[in-house]
Symmetry: C2
Subunit: 332 residues, 2 copies
Amino acid sequence: MKISEIARMAGVSSAAVSRYINGGSISEEKKQRIKKVIEETGYVPNPTARSLRQQRTDGIGVIVPKFNSDSVSNLIEGVSTVLSKSGYLAIFGNAENDEKRELEYMRLMQETRFAGILLMGTVFTAKHIAFFRESKMPIVVCGQNHPSVTCVYHDDKGAAKEITRYMIEKGRRKLAYIGAIERDISVGINRREGVEEAMSEAQLDPSALVRAQVFFAVDDGYKGMNDILDGGYVPDGVICATDTLAVGAIKALQERGYKVPGDISVAGIGGGFAGTIITPALTTVKLFHRECGERGARLLLSMIEQQREKPDQKLPTTHTMFGYSLIERESV
Amino acid sequence: MKISEIARMAGVSSAAVSRYINGGSISEEKKQRIKKVIEETGYVPNPTARSLRQQRTDGIGVIVPKFNSDSVSNLIEGVSTVLSKSGYLAIFGNAENDEKRELEYMRLMQETRFAGILLMGTVFTAKHIAFFRESKMPIVVCGQNHPSVTCVYHDDKGAAKEITRYMIEKGRRKLAYIGAIERDISVGINRREGVEEAMSEAQLDPSALVRAQVFFAVDDGYKGMNDILDGGYVPDGVICATDTLAVGAIKALQERGYKVPGDISVAGIGGGFAGTIITPALTTVKLFHRECGERGARLLLSMIEQQREKPDQKLPTTHTMFGYSLIERESV
DNA sequence: GAATATTTTGTAATCGATTTCATTAACTAT
DNA sequence: ATAGTTAATGAAATCGATTACAAAATATTC
């Protein structure tokens, strides 16, 4: 079923049908006739033809570093609930934790003239920044913050500070920190700085903090904890950059016969699923991944609208920070 | 940059350029000229225009019931690694555990003339079956089995049988089963039947099995276990239809002061992440979600190829069953 | 070397919508 | 009543590729 067919059936030109659909001026009488035919036939305009003519698609690209992670899948869940109600189609790209693939996807999505890009960022290279600067596409980044692009992110430093403060309050003063790779600003650097700041404020010397720097898996937390202990340092409190790392750290401690939190407290950051099922239940700081995805998607949608109204104009960047919320459980 | 521009620069017609790209007959000399120009300009054909003319898109629809679940996100991971190497674009649709939305997506994807559909099925209604029967699109279902459509699924009954047999071997004879809603054939019915069969084969009366039927979340397993105990039945072994349910069941037991596995053994089915981090570590049967997604994607790709060669022909359905693998840990 | 088959080529049609443009019809204001 | 707006209309152009078709160039056969 195509538009010319509908036009024939309604006894009008295809231009009239197009105007009916897209809201051009048209007489009430024809409007009714066209409406009737469209309802009877269940006609839907061919999106490909429309895209070709209008020089844009109704696709929104969502680039994620991987799928099988708690925080990412909640973020996606949030994004997809918003987009599925919007008339746009979400196209997900799995960057496989590789910045180069991220860039490839961004370029592909720009070439394909997607309506916008939502990037769940990990590491920003100079090429990323250049892309943000040069591209006129609506782009939103979730989870990182950078002045060159619109971002929705968490107060990572604040969250880390909060959980550290809490641990110090609970009487732990000999701290260790298992952090993530520092090419990731949000998780790698900001959270560490939060820990250090909280220590300073409590008159503890942050340079005395023993740190391990690892990746993001349970095994990495496990290894990080063991490295610290093997180094001869036995803390009484361990902060981990993510809940997943904390799970690994607790496992390492328990294997060595330490009681958590009796001998050593452990805290995470994230508030994901894993922390709710381990023993002891993980004390952590909740971050709002799902909400972050929702907000990011909504923001992108409004940027796309804005651009529709004034094309060719570089969109201003905005920066939205989400807070956090301490979850007291059993591991501290 | 468009094809006519390339043609002008290479001093040929745009038909020649198109033939160069799509492999038509063309002289070696022009081939070189065109190649050079394309390389210099980095020209890529406009996919929208191509789709319009060829009456098909390079999109593959992937419909999932939700994103934030371990099994689903591994499946997606598998699917996306295969598709991202294929030249096709994966478009994910979140059906939000709603069969109606599943159908809506299927219809939308058919209208949009996607190259194929990969459905991570939950419940099949009569409308699903009708769609499978009538549609000429390449469709692959992951996780369920039905004769009317090509499926890649697990031996759910076998897996359930295996873990039950194992539990009986370990001396547990007073069993309970926490199962999932039975509108889901694979997880709801087949797994329960596997448990019952294993009991019969061990001369245990399956009708004596106490069952709870719940949804898929941790809390559902928790509730299911409590319901069984509140009914006055204290089993010595509990089989759960999924690992997630097992996590909830163990939590309920521990809260009531039972030792797992000392007093009561608990086993799951799935082999996901959750079972590796709880205490005691979950004894379970591994299912190959990631591999299932990979296989499903590859199969769909080959079906799409087949259809390219002989269009208008209904594709034959195939049925691929994956096995399982017992994981002995601590909960039995 | 003529007749025939095959390959190469460009022109123009095509996919299905939207949009420009020129024209006509219907109002408003004077 | 007339000039000047504004709204409604359909024919035709357009988006950027692929492809049917016919013509031209080349290769093959006898």
